[in-house]
């Protein structure tokens, strides 16, 4: 996985590296759908394409969830840049997601 460095942009576009994310979901279950929508909105607003997101459906790939130590879905993993972070739930708590992504909230 490559880690590209960008020069810091204006406030709000605070992306300095490509953020690599993995979201584990359970098919079209309500919280899973909501988590995808919430995460996409956050990525659009804060990461502006400076990220890579892989969505893993545990109903289709249960083996991956077991192997990768996932306990519940929806579950978001930030894999890169280090340190890694994890948020569980439908990602409606934006502050918590931003903290995990290592991105400063525009409102603050």
């Amino acid at each position: 996985m490559s880690r590209r460095r960008h020069t810091p942009k204006k406030r709000g576009a605070g992306v300095t590296t490509v953020v690599v994310l993995r979201l584990y979901i359970a098919g079209g279950a309500p919280n899973s759908v909501q988590a995808i929508a919430n995460l996409e909105a956050i990525c659009r607003e804060y990461l502006k394409g400076g990220h890579r997101l892989e969505v893993v459906d545990v109903l289709e790939h249960p083996g991956r969830a077991m192997a990768e130590g996932v306990l519940v879905t929806p579950s978001l993993e930030k894999l890169s840049p280090l340190p890694t972070a994890n948020v569980v739930g439908n990602l409606s708590d934006k502050a918590k997601v931003l903290l995990a992504l290592g991105v400063k909230d525009k409102a603050q």
Binding site: I25, E60, P62, M66
Partner: protein, 282 residues
Amino acid sequence: MSLQNVLSRLPKGGPEQRAIEAGEIDAIIDRASSNVILLPAARRALRGLSSDARRGLSSDAPIANGVLAALPRKDYLALLDGLEPVALTYGTVLYEPGELIAHVFFPVDCLVSLLTAVEGHPATEVGMVGREGIVGITLALGMDVSSIRALVQGTGTAMRMNAARFRREFERSLPLQRGLYRYANAKLALARQTVACNQFHAVEPRLARWLLMTSDRLASDEFILTQRLLADILGVLRAAVSRAAGSLQQRRLIRYRRGKIRILDRQGLEAASCRCYTRIEA
């Protein structure tokens, strides 16, 4: 395995438990049982979804049941939202003779035995359905009452559809009708062959045939079967099963330990089985 047990295995007071309490979790991945367990709200929601892609049965995924796989894509997709995945556990009775058929089942990786009882004797197996077929073919033949007992012999999953929806789909889809008539004919041929087989062939070749058929339908060389059940299935005394299994084991064709059977030499077992095996498979 209860949901409570699974919940108790999550880290105490951890973010997972808090998210569950907040209703933000759809599924728990239970490593102890290697299962993905949907929480009730998610299960209900997934049942109600109409899009096949959204229910985790991706329309691109290989179709595991033979009857469904043989349908043209359009007909298969039309069926999908009426199908729900269910886990069937060993020993569950799906139908009793004389009972109204509420659902049909398309086994994915489970095995269902069809049994008929004669007064004063334990039920004898007259048919077996695995991933190649459907349980509840009677509905397609115009009857809504089961004439047999359908007993889950191998734990696994199946796709279930309620009887009313199945009847509608059956009337609507010509490929489904053709597929099921072909299947019914194959079942009839199998039943006829089984009658002759039970009449004339010895227990050992019949046991070998039955093990091969079970293995084909489960797509596995290992499965669990007690001697008592095998005796009921073959319609013989337990001692006879014990002798026959012992002989197959001595010839290193199978391993039979504490109810767990493993086929060690498939070709050898085919040679030991009666010729009904190949005929039935054809």
